[in-house]
Symmetry: C2
Subunit: 383 residues, 2 copies
């Protein structure tokens, strides 16, 4: 399962003492090859954490031997010292693996603006290196949790190869709620360019269409590592599909576990003049606090949907907008449609369908409701 | 006080039975001249309520005899029938005033997507016309409340003239929380072009810099009516200042009474390369749910400030950002600054100062915290 489902990967998750208590807080994922091809996508935030700056630099070479991930501290907004801490982390892992720091990515998540406890972290790296195993994927997935209530793992079988993944962070890539970290592995044989293209395509359709609270993290990272250990050169279309499925599965797990959420809301935009228009409208609706509160209250408040659609510059005529909630078209032609009392708002999954009547393109953006629990969790948790 | 502070204006506020219960829900403001010059600014939402479409059309003539305002229903997303309802409302007021409907603006606020109870509304207009008086400003301000807990009124004295105003709606012009409606009156003598320029300048610096929840209403309207009854041609700079002060005063009242808010947050952006950059950064920070939760929890979480700044394309270098909360510079050079325990988060007013170190321009955006009360109010209230 998880990142060790494909051949050629070992992992470990240990309690390094970065977090208080004895919870796991450090993960190590190692690619034993023969290939080291890799790709990554990172937060679009201009305020980037030290590990993001480091890993972007490392990925420029298109190769990764290992990834060190820690929870308990984001190492963001920590200045040049914070960057040195990330560098030291990579050096420590390189030393333990008798390899080069230049092929070791680092990911961190937790509080912004505090230095990491480097003694604990470096011992943790050494400890994790000693515990690496072919079934360490679950422990690694556990070690990267922050406010996640459960570990997120996924895998898919391709024709002669595997794709596995783990993720954390009740959020999404861009923008992001809490930090989202994700490591995907495969034993298929691909070049870093192929991996990059597949990863960008998959994340743009999955993590990028999750928008739980419109906030973008300083640390979001999604990495894809290929060991080539299966000896199989995959069909690129099939491989892309498998990576997409793993991303979609992990994205769904992130959504369901989003901080304080009680509803999973799919915003399906149809009849758009273009796919970017559909995404734009979906994202705008996903960011309406008023609508998210209404859904929490099980109120099929289509007026708040239209108000959010109206803030975009997508192609549409206000009097041709149709909106269905859970299959009932309660708004037709920009005005009252079917009886709102017919809408069953009780299920956890809520689907809002918006027909722009402007074309044939579609996109779905996923979000959650806005709850008092979200407020409580984020009032108390200093991140 | 309120809209009847200046000479030449009468007003009334009555209970027409649009809302359930016997609360006031209909206001009428009449300009008895001699001048009828007027200007208006409206929501930027492309989904505009019928009264907005109507009033924009009326204002094209630059003259207003009267404004009818109702709470208890937004008359938004109500199709051609809703527009006819607005038209009938203006006709009814015109009949009562023996005047032309083409110089009567209409404003509505309340639920989206429901027709107004026109029998009640039209009787209410007639009733209000019968109760118009020089001291009806307070009753009018009371009648336009929805979730507002108090009436919002303001006035300023110029050199030989007055400026008065009333507003409703814990929100802002663009974007807007609930609907914001505002009527400002003056007995100074100005052309509609002068009023338009003054109003746009004043609202862009006041209501437009309120952002309580990032949501934009379908109904936001700010009107400025001049009776000329004082016979004074004002100095334009002074007049602009007075209108600005009334707008700022009303905006402050809206902020303090925003739905569920427990903190009033001023986001001062300094050192910006341009004023638009400063506004952009201020707005981005004002829309961070994570930050708004942190402030609610009295947590001086500057990391969430930087994360929000980093999502903008304003000119800045991440390692030159400084952030103060309530005067303590807890972030310097994009990293940890002064001791966060020095920040006193207990006062209701919280000031976040962001120094972009990129120039000399500044702007302040006002917002509120995000609370469980906001969630409760907006889960239960179908608007």
């Amino acid at each position: 399962m998880s990142v060790t489902a494909p051949l050629g990967f070992r992992a470990a998750g240990v309690a390094a003492g970065i977090k208080s208590g004895d919870a796991r807080d450090l993960a190590l994922v190692v690619n034993d090859g023969p290939s080291r091809a890799a790709a990554g996508v990172f937060t679009a935030n201009r305020v980037k954490a030290a590990p993001v700056l480091w890993s972007q630099q490392v990925l420029a070479g298109g190769r990764l031997r290992a990834v060190v991930l820690n929870s308990g501290g984001a190492n963001a907004c920590t200045g040049p010292e914070g960057f040195q801490d990330t560098h030291a982390t990579a050096e420590k892992a390189a030393e333990a693996l008798a390899d080069s720091a230049g092929e070791i990515a680092v990911c961190s998540t937790g509080l912004i603006g505090e230095r990491l406890p480097m003694d604990a972290l470096l011992s943790g790296v050494e400890n994790a290196a000693g515990q690496l195993s072919r079934d360490g994927g679950l422990a690694a997935a556990d070690a990267i949790r922050t406010t996640d209530t459960v570990s997120k793992i996924s895998f898919r079988r391709g024709s002669g190869y595997m794709v596995g993944g783990m993720a954390k962070g009740a959020g999404m890539l861009a923008p992001a709620l809490a930090t989202m970290l994700c490591v995907i592995t495969t034993d298929a044989e691909l070049t870093s360019e192929e991996l990059d293209a597949v990863l960008r395509e998959a994340t743009s359709q999955t993590f990028d269409r999750l928008d739980t609270d419109g906030c973008m993290s300083t640390n979001d990272t999604v990495l894809l590592l290929a060991s080539g250990a299966s000896g199989v050169r995959p069909d690129l279309a099939e491989f892309g599909e498998k990576v997409h499925e793993v991303c979609a599965d992990l994205a769904r797990q992130l959504l369901v576990d989003a901080e304080g959420a009680s509803k999973a809301i799919a915003i399906e935009v149809v009849g758009a003049a273009s796919e970017p228009d559909a995404v734009k409208v979906g994202r705008s609706v996903a960011r309406s606090n008023l609508l998210k509160c209404a859904i929490h209250g099980e109120d099929p408040n289509w007026g708040r949907v239209l108000a959010a659609v109206g803030t975009t510059d997508a192609e549409f005529e206000p009097d041709r907008l149709n909106v269905a909630i859970n299959g009932i078209w309660i708004c037709r032609g920009g005005a009252v449609g079917d009886d709102r009392s017919k809408v069953d708002m009780r299920p956890r999954d809520v689907t809002i369908t918006i027909d722009l009547s402007a074309g044939t393109h579609t996109a779905t953006v996923h979000t959650t409701d806005l709850t008092a629990d979200y407020v409580h969790e984020n009032s108390a948790y200093s991140s």
